[in-house]
């Protein structure tokens, strides 16, 4: 079995790009920190396009070769060394991250400018360096192939994300950041314990080697079962899946808009991605079937619970944060749909198994839509001086482009055509029906109605033409509105692309569930 995994193509072009993707944000972080002042922003804005280029190149390399990229760091092969790995899913997420961060970088310039007269200011230096650190952490998570290396990546992400929450320094945001930190640390330490137990049972932390040893036919070690359970629990706390969600709404709503966008669109996806890898790339199938039911049940609860609470929020940013809880729930429906025994034959076909593509599409379109929404909410709050949902009447007349962008992003969240969210939810619904798991369709439909309900609360007054005209406290820069609109369009355009072009997300996946392997 081991030999299967050492047969990685020796000289796949593009593998060194993985190192670039990992180290570019790290190098930029150090440079921005040392130069400080106004240079921090310049370093970020210069690095972002390069990083986007690298992500595009990695996606192209994966797509062109139709295979996973692999890089042994220092030339040391696992289990002694640590390797990097990018399959289609990793490449897709690297690209999504780069696009969202480019938009966030452009958007945040107005909020994090060093005031004239000062050489350096607290919030700008912190924001720009933390943004690079978030990027480094995300790329490390998406590229990691070693469970402990992934632990360091998760910690990098935590240490970058928590201070973003309380950049404003108000007592509420301090409390939110502290609560977030405690949850995140609990999650990390449980994850680490899982890693230790895997090592104790199988003597390796490399995902491919572990998977091979677990699939070797011997009974699975008790330590491995405990490890998978502990890791999942820890990662769920970091992903804020119901009922471990308490920290998310105040944290995501408390951060400055650009920070909220990063946290909600990207950071929670990192821990979700690791749950995917754990159950589809490490653990053997029969166990995955079992875990899938538990995970999806929690996901279903999150969809309903998050939707209902979003309906009741008075503040726009809180509403969007609760919406994230619900949208995360959809991601967890992927587990039973992909891992269903009934879905297995589909994996042998060349065509995409719908559930997997649907799940990835949900992840990506939510990232674009949610980043756009939080940034639109930031523009609205800045222009009105508040973000009370009740006070949004007639907003469409004064900020038409922002409201339009918000509505477009909402289209994707609701899963209405034509949008990425529609394609995602359609694929998930079809997969649920094809595999005879109709009960998940009820949850998805109810979730769609709830999403429609809470977005209606925002959009109906915003688009109404009655009432006295709103007065703006502060004008909104057109360029920032365009950035938000661009992201919202990304989430919609995903739905217009023919599904066959999503072959990228399948690369390296055939057999990842254990079925395609000869």
């Amino acid at each position: 079995m081991d030999s299967l995994f050492t047969l990685t193509p020796p000289a796949a072009w593009g593998a060194p790009l993985l190192v670039t993707a990992l180290m570019l944000p790290v190098a930029a972080l150090m440079l921005a920190f040392v130069l400080g002042g106004r240079h921090a922003e310049r370093v970020v804005l210069a690095t972002l396009p390069i990083g986007l280029g690298v992500a595009v190149a990695i996606a192209a390399a994966v797509l062109h070769q139709g295979a996973t990229l692999h890089y042994d760091l220092g030339g040391w092969a696992p289990p002694l060394g640590v390797s990097l790995h990018a399959d289609g899913l990793s490449a897709t997420l690297l690209l999504t991250t780069a696009v969202v961060l480019c938009a966030v970088g452009l958007y945040a310039r107005a909020d994090f400018r060093v005031p004239s007269g000062a050489r350096e200011a607290r919030a700008p230096l912190a924001f720009w360096t933390l943004l690079l650190a978030v990027w480094a952490g995300l790329n490390a998570v998406f590229l990691g192939q070693d469970l402990f290396n992934l632990y360091v990546a998760l910690e990098l992400l935590t240490f970058a994300a928590v201070p973003l929450v309380c950049l404003r320094g108000s007592p509420q945001t301090i409390a939110a950041a502290l609560r977030y930190l405690l949850f995140a640390l609990l999650g990390s330490v449980l994850y680490l314990l899982g890693g230790a137990l895997f090592y104790g049972a199988y003597g390796t932390l490399d995902i491919a080697l572990l998977s091979a040893r677990l699939a070797s036919g011997d009974p699975i070690a008790p330590a491995a079962l405990a490890a998978a359970a502990l890791m999942t629990a820890g990662l769920l706390a970091k992903t804020a899946l119901f009922p471990l969600h308490l920290w998310l709404p105040p944290a995501h709503a408390g951060a400055p808009a650009a920070g909220s966008a990063v946290l909600s669109a990207l950071v929670v996806k990192a821990s979700f991605f690791l749950i995917l890898r754990l159950w589809f790339d490490v653990m053997p199938d029969p166990l995955t079937h079992l875990a899938a039911q538990v995970l999806a049940t929690l996901g279903a609860a999150a969809i309903l619970f998050g939707g209902i609470l979003a309906l009741r929020q008075a503040r726009l940013k809180m509403l969007i944060a609760y919406s994230t809880l619900a949208q995360i729930g959809y991601l967890f429906l992927v587990f039973p749909l992909v891992a269903s025994p009934a879905a297995a034959p589909a994996l042998d076909l060349v065509q995409a198994p719908g559930a997997w593509t649907g799940g990835v599409l949900q992840l990506v379109s939510h990232a674009f839509a949610k980043a756009a929404m939080f940034m639109a909410a930031g523009l609205i709050a800045g222009a009105l001086g508040h973000d009370q949902v009740r006070g949004l009447g007639g907003l469409g007349r004064v900020l038409p482009m922002t409201v339009f962008a918000f509505a477009l992003a909402g289209l994707s969240l609701m899963g209405l055509p034509p949008s990425g969210g529609f394609a995602a939810k359609w694929l998930l619904l079809s997969a649920a029906i094809e595999t005879g798991q109709w009960w998940w369709t009820l949850v998805m439909l109810a979730g769609g109605l709830l999403t429609g309900g809470y977005l209606f609360r925002v959009l109906a007054p915003a688009l109404s033409t009655r009432g006295p005209p709103l007065t703006l406290v502060k004008p909104v820069e057109r360029s920032r509105e365009l950035v938000v609109l661009g992201l919202a369009l990304c989430s919609v355009v995903l739905g217009l692309v023919p599904l066959s072009s999503f072959g990228l997300v399948q690369i390296g996946r055939l057999g990842a569930t254990g079925i395609g392997l000869p």
Binding site: L80, F148, F159, A177, L181, L186
Partner: protein, 102 residues
Amino acid sequence: MSSVTLFGLCGAALVGLGLFGLIVQPGVLRKILAFNLLGSGVLLLFGVIARRGAAAGIGSDPVPQALIITALVVAFAATVLAVALLRRLVQETGRDSLDTDG
């Protein structure tokens, strides 16, 4: 029972104790202490696994040892951040717990 197993059981108990403290302690500083107990229990378990991997003339598998050192430094940095947030919270609100805010 060997000493190694004994320390392993001790680590397991510390994890349970830390977890309990993290959930039920109302004060943030006590939660931070509980997190440190939990973390040290986890590392102790890892250390036991390292000791069981004694081979090639070394008393303890060097790979987990290195990982434990890395994790200790991470835990320290995490504690620093948590304490700093707590001090700001106390300055701003006079409270040292998270129980009343939603």
